[in-house]
């Protein structure tokens, strides 16, 4: 759909959040529509086909998880979830259902707008490039080489696969389950501890300061997020 401005659907049962978000998104240069619950949200999504969906999780009638599932049945429109601090299970469930990112209430507008920008940019980008370039880090997917600050980094195939997955999703949280599904093809014996061991050794190889990661950030209870912005 060709639009002058990206269209964003806001689904939240709280009227003040709905109104402020619509207003602020408009000020930030987006077109915004709102829906008061999951059922209405699904209907507006079908009708308007927005470029991005922001949805609360706890809502009367259909909740946010139902909205994500409805969107994913249709296409890959980015979905950002408004979750609540401390409700990590809900967050992980939303991400595993196909949500692209989340912010935790109380979130700041600046935080949300940054996530929106990342998602709009990602969904506009074409196929993933042959080489990922980040500040001081280059990942060549064809030759399977990694160069960090001018030095070659030797990774095991598993470490490379994890790095490739996280870098391809740069800026977006990747759940442990998603890593197991992609890197280990969901092999039943793979535990979250296995993933953590490999991420730990990956960090020691590519992070200049592993105790203060610059590339691979930990998302508490969720998984990891590639922190650096692609060049």
């Amino acid at each position: 759909m060709s639009r002058p401005n990206p269209l964003i659907l806001v689904v939240d049962d709280d009227p003040s959040i709905r109104q402020s978000l619509v207003r602020e998104l408009a000020l930030a240069g987006y077109d915004a529509v709102a829906a008061a619950d999951g059922v209405e949200g699904k209907a507006v999504f079908e009708e308007r086909r927005p470029d991005l969906v922001i949805t609360d999780l706890a809502m009367p009638r259909a909740d946010g998880h139902a909205v994500i599932a409805a969107v994913r049945r249709v296409d890959q429109t980015p979905v950002i979830v408004l979750s609540v601090r401390g409700e990590e299970e809900d967050k992980v469930r939303a991400l595993d259902l196909g949500a692209d990112d989340y912010v935790s209430k109380p979130f700041s507008l600046r935080e949300l707008l940054a996530r929106v920008r990342t998602q709009i940019r990602r969904s506009g980008a074409g196929a993933a490039p042959e080489t990922f370039r980040f500040p001081d880090l280059e990942i060549d997917r064809g030759r399977r080489t990694v160069v960090q600050h001018g030095r070659d980094v030797r990774l095991t195939p598993t470490e490379f696969a994890i790095l490739e997955l996280l870098a391809a999703q740069a800026g977006r949280p990747v759940t442990l389950r998603q890593i197991i599904a992609t890197v280990w093809k969901g092999a039943p014996a793979t535990t979250t501890d296995t993933v953590r061991v490999h991420v730990g050794s990956l960090r020691r190889k590519i992070e200049p300061d592993p105790a203060n990661p610059r590339y691979i950030g930990t998302e508490p209870w969720v998984g990891y997020r590639f922190l650096a912005e692609p060049l």
């Binding site: 709280d14 602020e24 401390g86 507008l109 953590r196 050794s201």
Partner: protein, 488 residues
Amino acid sequence: MGTLRRVRMIPMRSRAFAWAAILPAVAMVTAIGRGTGADATTIGFFFLVVVLGLAAWGGWAVGAAASVAAMLCFNFFFLPPFGTLAIAEPAHWVALLAFLAASTLASRLVATARSQAVEAQRRRREVEILYDLCFGLFTVSQRPGVLGDAAARTLQAIGAEAGTLLIDGVGPPVSVIGDERLEIDSALLERALESREVVATTPAGLRTAYIPLQVGGTLNGVLVARGPLASRSVLEPAGRLLALAVERERLLAESAWLEGVKESEALKTSLLRAVSHDLRTPLTAMGLEIESLDRQLADRPEALASVRGLSLERERLARRIDNLLALARLEAGVARPRPEPVPPGSLFRAARESLSSILDGRPVAARVEPRCPDLWTDPSLTLEILVNLLENAARATPPKEPIELDAARDPESPERVFLEVRDRGPGLPPSVRLWRGGEFTESASGGLGLRIARSFAETNGGALVLLDRPGGGTIARVILPAAPEEVT
């Protein structure tokens, strides 16, 4: 179901018939032999068959009598000299002995077979009784609270007319069946409890049994039964079955209790979630409005100062709510840590981001020792610890005074990591000094933050220590386990 029949080798009436049949049978063989003119050998075999048949039917005595009668007839009518009872030749003695031996053998064999059949029949009845009991106890009713029912079934199965169940731990003694109350003989009861075997007596012709109920080595009661009871080989397994039923009753009661506990935890969790959502949603809306105001008033510095004040208060309110919810989670017992390896640097960064307004403009220096390992801790709970300590430090010191965050391996124990929040404030307040002595008394909101920090540190297998900082100020040290060095 009732008592078992007594084992009897051969029924009386059958034996009488066999005695009566001896003379006609021998007479018939003699008549046939005389009529057909068969030779002595053939007739001898014929007599043998008849003797065998009679022995099988009437037992050894009948067989012996039949063999004497057969021998006499054989001798008189078929062996020379005919018409006399003289046994002229030794061979005829052999014939007589053969008849006797054959009848003895046959009657023995038949008696054994018969007694085995009767025994098998008795066993089958016992198994039937126990099977019916088993079925009645374990498949028919799955409801809890049917112990009386189970005991009544057991008593019926073993043929009791009256009975009482004495249970330890589940309920009062249940008088199960029978109109009159059973007199319990405490000596017999004691004996049954001690020996763990069925104790039976027959006072005044009424059989009474004390059946201990034991399963897996535990005794969980005694069943007292009176009436024409089944044999001991039924009473013992019946007692075990009832013991299993009692045990099941106990487990059902226990699982119902656990279910209740689980439900109340689920209720607490969902209540906390609802409260958490309902409190944080308006805070979010407030925050969004404040940000909007902040933008709109960019060119009015004095209005902007008010907005900043609002923002700070909103953040404080958010912190208080975080603390109260954290405390509620702790007290509801639903704050369970999920540890994972956490780099200290990312915790420091997240803690600073969580307090952006409160720390506004204040220098916060974070330092992670070069060889400091990751923490093995729950990241969310640990962030809560740090945020509380950082907020306390910010409150204790003037606005522009720097605060330091420091992570290092415990020099004395490499499996532990120190996370420290250091300030140059007035040092430890007296209430906290008291706490260091083990008698922490809470003071205002700072106390709440410390209490949460300490509880969460302990929940994560660590500790919180407050130290006077050399040169003035406080060091709040969180001691947490280090993540194991991964094998690569």
